[in-house]
C-alpha cells in the first residue's frame, strides 16, 4: 500500500488556490458521460451529489433512510464554524486553522485543515443563499456564538437545530438537481460491497431494503459519505441506523483505514437511564457557553443540588482551566468528568454524571434570553428526564459521538483505491485526535460542496473509464459474496438476538477503548471481542427471510462488521504508545494528568491494510509534517 498524500507544493495559504488553478478539468459536454455513485446523503454526500449534479455529472445517490433528508447530519445541534470575523474579535482563516489543528492535538494534516478553514467562509455564504435561516441580530446581520477550544465567537447557528437546517439546505439543492434530471436518489438502499476491477473502484453492490433484492451499480467513481462508526459502542449519540459497514467492506477490498481508534466521547449527553436504553441523547456543546459544570466537593454527597451551598461545589473546569473554563475542548471536558466520577463525586442514580447549571446565566441574562438560545434543548431535556433545567441543573455525562478516524484519503479525498473517494466523517483527514465543536458540519459541507467538485475532475480527466461488463467475474464475485454473507447470517438460527451481541461488544469497547485505554485493557478487550464474535457466528438468531424488509438482517450485517472494526480499533489504540486528544493511554500522561504526546515516535497517521480474514492487519505510516505550526503541549489553562 502506497501512501502519497499528494499535498500541493507552495505556501500553506496558496496551496488550494494554486491547486484549483492548475488542476485538469472535464469539459461541460463530457461531464454527463460520467456516472458518479455517492453513498450517503448527509452534508458531505448530499452536498457532493448536489454540487456534482450542478456541474453536469450523472449522479446516483444512495441512502438507507426513506428520505435523503433524514441522514444523521440532521441531528447536529450547536452550529458551524467560519472565519468570517463578523464579530471583529480577531478571527482569521489562520486562527481557525490553528485552533482546529491544536484542538486535534497535532495529529491532522496542515494542508487539509488549512483548506477547511479557508472554505469555511464560502460555506456560510452558500448556506444563506440556499435559504438556511441562521440566527440573526435585530439589525438583520448574522449572529454568532462561542464553541469549545476557541476564544473567538465564530459559530453560526439556527436555534439548536443547525444540522437540521444545513441538511435541509443541502437536501433542497439535491432536490433541485433531481428536478433538473442530473441526480437520481435511491432510498432505502444499503451498500453491501464495493466493486473493484483491475484495482480501480467501479461500482457498488446494494440491497433494496424493502424487496431484499441485491443488485449492482456501476460508475466512474464511487464516493463514500457514510458518516462515522460510533455505534460500535452500541450506546452512542448516533442514529440507530448509522453504521461502519460501507467503510469496513471497502477496507476489505483494499482501502487503508486511518487512525481507527480516534473517537470522540462528547462531554454533554444525557446519562444512561437503564439497561433497556437504545441510544444516548446529546445536549449541545453550545450549552457550555452559559452552563457551569460542577460536582460536589465531597465524595458521596447525596444532597439535591439546590441544597449544596456554593462553597461546597467544585466548578472543576473553571478551577483547572481558568483561561478556557467551561469551554475547554471536548476530550478535556469528558476526561475531567470521568475523573471526578472516578473519585466518587459523580451525581445521579448511577453516580456517572455531573451537573450543568444555568442558574447564574438565568440570573445574569434572564430566562427569556436563555430560552431564546436553548429553548428546544431544554424542552428535549425535560421530555427525557422529567426535570425542568430552568429550575434544577441538568445532569450530563460523556457519550460516544464522533469518529475522527476513517478511511485514509489524500489531498484529493481519494482513498488508497483509485476511484474511491471518501468525504465527511467517513474519512480521517481534518480533525486529528480530537474534533472541535461546530467543525463536523463545516467539514461535511466543505468536502461535499467545495472540495470534491474540484478534485474529482482531475481523476475523471486523467482516466479512461471503459464500460463495466456487468457479467464479468469480478462483479459476479462481489455480488455472490454479498449474498452469501446474508444467507449465512439467516442460516445460523441460534438463540441470541443481534442486539444482545451488539450491547455486549459495546460495553467492552466503552470500558477498554473509550475515554481511557491501557495496553493491558486493550489486550483483554481484543481477547473478549474475539470470543464474543465466535459466539455471534455460532449462536445469533436472525428471523425472517432475505427477500423482504428485514430490519434484523440489516442490523446483523452491521454488527458482524463492527466486531472486526472493534478489534482493529483496539489494535490501533494499543499500537499508539502515546496520549493525544481523545486517545488517552493511562501509561502516558503528564504530572498534571493531561495527555502526553510523543511527537518523536508518533507524529504520524496510522494506516491499516487488510491482509485477509483471520490475518493480522499490516501497519503503514504517513508521517505528518508541520511547517506552519509549532508542536506544543496543548494547554487550555
Amino acid at each position: 500500500m502506497k501512501l502519497d498524500a499528494k499535498i500541493p507544493s507552495g505556501a500553506l495559504a496558496d496551496k488550494w488556490t494554486d491547486y484549483k488553478a492548475h488542476t485538469k478539468l472535464v469539459s461541460p459536454a463530457n461531464k454527463r458521460k460520467h456516472t458518479i455513485l455517492i453513498v450517503g446523503t448527509g452534508l458531505a454526500g448530499g452536498g457532493a451529489a448536489a454540487a456534482l449534479g450542478e456541474l453536469g455529472y450523472k449522479v446516483k445517490a444512495f441512502c438507507y433512510q426513506d428520505s435523503a433528508r433524514r441522514a444523521h447530519s440532521i441531528a447536529a445541534q450547536g452550529g458551524i464554524n467560519a472565519a468570517k470575523n463578523y464579530q471583529n474579535d480577531g478571527d482569521t482563516v489562520f486562527r481557525l486553522f490553528y485552533d482546529t489543528i491544536k484542538g486535534g492535538d497535532f495529529r491532522a494534516r496542515e494542508a487539509n485543515t488549512y483548506r477547511l478553514a479557508e472554505i469555511s467562509n464560502e460555506i456560510i455564504d452558500h448556506c444563506v443563499a440556499q435559504g438556511v435561516p441562521f440566527a440573526r441580530e435585530y439589525s438583520g446581520y448574522l449572529a454568532n456564538r462561542t464553541f469549545g477550544g476557541a476564544q473567538v465567537s465564530r459559530t453560526f447557528y439556527a436555534r439548536g437545530q443547525t444540522g437540521q437546517q444545513l441538511l435541509l439546505g443541502a437536501y433542497n439543492s439535491l432536490n433541485a438537481q433531481v428536478n433538473a434530471g442530473n441526480v437520481e436518489i435511491l432510498e432505502r438502499t444499503e451498500m453491501l460491497d464495493l466493486i473493484v476491477i483491475d484495482g480501480i473502484a467501479r461500482g457498488i453492490v446494494v440491497r433494496d431494503m424493502v424487496s431484499g433484492e441485491v443488485s449492482s451499480h456501476f460508475g466512474d467513481a464511487v464516493l463514500l459519505c457514510t458518516g462515522g462508526y460510533s455505534n460500535v459502542f452500541f450506546l452512542s449519540t448516533s442514529a440507530k441506523g448509522c453504521n461502519g459497514s460501507a467503510l469496513w467492506r471497502a477496507y476489505k477490498r483494499g482501502a487503508g483505514f486511518a487512525n481507527p481508534s480516534f473517537t470522540q466521547i462528547h462531554p454533554t449527553a444525557i446519562p444512561q437511564a437503564g439497561d433497556f436504553q437504545s441510544k444516548l441523547t446529546l445536549m449541545s456543546e453550545s450549552l457550555r457557553n452559559d452552563g457551569r459544570v460542577w460536582v460536589p466537593k465531597k465524595a458521596g454527597d447525596d444532597r439535591p443540588p439546590a441544597q449544596i451551598p456554593e462553597d461546597e461545589r467544585d466548578y472543576y473546569l473553571e478551577r483547572i482551566y481558568p483561561s478556557f473554563g467551561n469551554m475547554v475542548p471536548r476530550d478535556v471536558a469528558s476526561r475531567n468528568a470521568k475523573n471526578v466520577c472516578d473519585e466518587g463525586r459523580g451525581i445521579g442514580k448511577t453516580k456517572r454524571g455531573v451537573y450543568l447549571d444555568f442558574a447564574a446565566a438565568i440570573e445574569r441574562l434572564g430566562k427569556d434570553v436563555i430560552k431564546d438560545r436553548y429553548g428546544n434543548l431544554f424542552e428535549m431535556y425535560e421530555m427525557i428526564n422529567d426535570e425542568n433545567p430552568y429550575e434544577t441543573p441538568m445532569m450530563i455525562y460523556p457519550a460516544p459521538h464522533y469518529t475522527m478516524g476513517g478511511l485514509w484519503v489524500d489531498y484529493d479525498l481519494m482513498s488508497t483505491i483509485p476511484g474511491l473517494f471518501v468525504l465527511g466523517e467517513a474519512n480521517f483527514s481534518d480533525h486529528g485526535a480530537n474534533r472541535l465543536g461546530a467543525s463536523a458540519l463545516m467539514q461535511g459541507l466543505a468536502d461535499g460542496f467545495f472540495v470534491i467538485p474540484n478534485t474529482l475532475g482531475a481523476y475523471i480527466a486523467e482516466g479512461k473509464h471503459p464500460d463495466v461488463d456487468p457479467s464479468c467475474d469480478a462483479v459476479r464475485e462481489v455480488e455472490q459474496s454479498a449474498k452469501a454473507l446474508n444467507e449465512k447470517l439467516l442460516s445460523i438460527n441460534g438463540s441470541r438476538t443481534v442486539d444482545y451481541f451488539h450491547r455486549a461488544m459495546g460495553m467492552i469497547m466503552l470500558d477498554k477503548c473509550g475515554m481511557a485505554r491501557s495496553e493491558e485493557g486493550l489486550n483483554e478487550a481484543i481477547e473478549k471481542i474475539r470470543e464474543l464474535r465466535k459466539e455471534f457466528w455460532a449462536d445469533v438468531k436472525v428471523p425472517g427471510i432475505g427477500e423482504s424488509l428485514n430490519q434484523e438482517l440489516e442490523k446483523a450485517g452491521r454488527v458482524a462488521d463492527y466486531f472486526d472494526l472493534a478489534e482493529l480499533m483496539c489494535i490501533d489504540a494499543r499500537e499508539r504508545n502515546e496520549s493525544c486528544g481523545g486517545h488517552f493511554r493511562e501509561e502516558y500522561k503528564t504530572d498534571e494528568g493531561e495527555a502526553k504526546r510523543d511527537d518523536e515516535n508518533f507524529r504520524h497517521v496510522s494506516v491499516w491494510e487488510f491482509m485477509g480474514e483471520g490475518q493480522a492487519p499490516k501497519a503503514h505510516k504517513e508521517e505528518l509534517e508541520f511547517e506552519y505550526v509549532e508542536l506544543t503541549q496543548r494547554s487550555y489553562k
Binding site: A129, F134, R159, A176, A273, S278, L282, Y500, P543, G544
Partner: protein, 254 residues
C-alpha cells in the same frame, strides 16, 4: 407497569393485515415508546416470531423517520412529540394501546407500522428549493434579513417531514407539510425569485399524488411534533393563487 398492545401486522403491501395482541408485564417508566417496542421485539425474536417492523433512526425527534398512530392519535397523546421521545411515564399501568401505521391513500403500506412516504419526496423535488448554484453566493451579510422574518422562516423550516399531519387529517391532506416549505423559503429574500413557481409546482404534484384538500380541521397543527402553524397553509394558498392568477406572464409585455 403492565400494558396491552394491539398492533397492526401486515407482511407487505399485498398482505391483508390484522391486529395482533401482545401483553407486556414489566415496562419501565423511563423507557421511550420505541424502547418499549424494542423490548417486545427481543422477546418475539427469542420466541421464534418476527419482530414488529417500525421506522425509526435518530430517536431524538429530529430526523422524522418514526411515527405511527397510538389510540387514534398520530405520535400519541402528548403534544409536540414524536414516538421516539414519548416516554412511558406518560402512560398508566393496565393501559390498552392500539398501534396503527399512518393511514392515507398517498402513503402505501410497506410492512407492519412502516409506510411509503415517497410522495413527500416528489413534492419537494417539484420545487421545494432555492436554485442557488454552488459558488454564486454573495457574502452572507450582504443581504440583511430582519430578525422577525428570519425567525418566522425558522418556525416553518423546523418541519421534520414525518407525515403526522397527513395521518391525522380526515382528508389525508399534505398542506401543512407543503405549506411549511413554501413559508420557510417565502419569508426569506433569497426565496422570492422562485416563490410563485415553487407554489405552483409543489401544489400540482401534491394534488397528483392523491393527497386530499384542506377543509380547516386543523388536526395537522394539533398533532405536529414541531408545532408548525397552519399559517403556512395560508401562505401556500396565497402564493399559489398569485401564481395561478398573475404568474407566468411576461413582465416585459412582449
Amino acid at each position: 407497569m403492565k400494558l396491552t398492545l394491539e398492533i397492526w401486522r401486515q407482511k407487505n403491501a399485498d398482505d391483508k393485515g390484522h391486529f395482533e395482541t401482545y401483553e407486556l408485564d414489566d415496562v419501565s417508566t423511563h423507557m421511550s415508546f420505541l424502547e418499549m417496542l424494542d423490548v417486545l421485539n427481543q422477546d418475539l425474536i427469542k420466541n421464534g416470531e418476527e419482530p414488529v417492523a417500525f421506522d425509526h433512526d435518530c430517536r431524538e425527534a429530529i430526523c422524522g423517520t418514526c411515527g405511527f398512530v397510538i389510540n387514534g392519535v398520530a405520535h400519541g397523546h402528548m403534544k409536540r412529540n414524536t414516538v421516539c421521545q414519548l416516554h412511558m411515564r406518560n402512560f398508566k399501568d393496565g393501559d390498552h394501546l392500539v398501534l396503527e401505521p399512518w393511514r392515507a391513500k398517498a402513503f402505501p403500506l410497506v410492512r407492519d407500522l412502516i409506510v411509503d412516504r415517497s410522495a413527500f419526496e416528489r413534492i419537494q423535488r417539484a420545487g421545494g428549493f432555492i436554485s442557488a448554484r454552488t459558488g454564486s453566493a454573495p457574502d452572507a451579510n450582504s443581504i440583511l434579513i430582519p430578525k422577525p422574518e428570519a425567525e418566522a422562516a425558522m418556525d416553518f423550516a423546523e418541519c421534520i417531514g414525518c407525515g403526522a399531519c397527513v395521518a391525522s387529517c380526515p382528508n389525508g391532506a399534505a398542506m401543512l407539510f407543503v405549506g411549511a416549505r413554501i413559508a420557510h423559503l417565502g419569508f426569506l429574500p433569497q426565496g422570492q425569485p422562485e416563490r410563485e413557481e415553487r407554489a405552483r409546482a409543489m401544489v400540482s404534484v401534491m394534488e397528483h399524488e392523491g393527497f386530499g384538500a384542506c377543509t380547516n380541521f386543523t388536526s395537522c397543527e394539533a398533532t405536529c411534533p414541531k408545532g408548525i402553524s397552519i399559517v403556512g397553509i395560508a401562505k401556500m394558498n396565497k402564493d399559489y393563487s398569485q401564481a395561478k392568477l398573475f404568474g407566468g406572464g411576461k413582465l416585459g409585455g412582449k
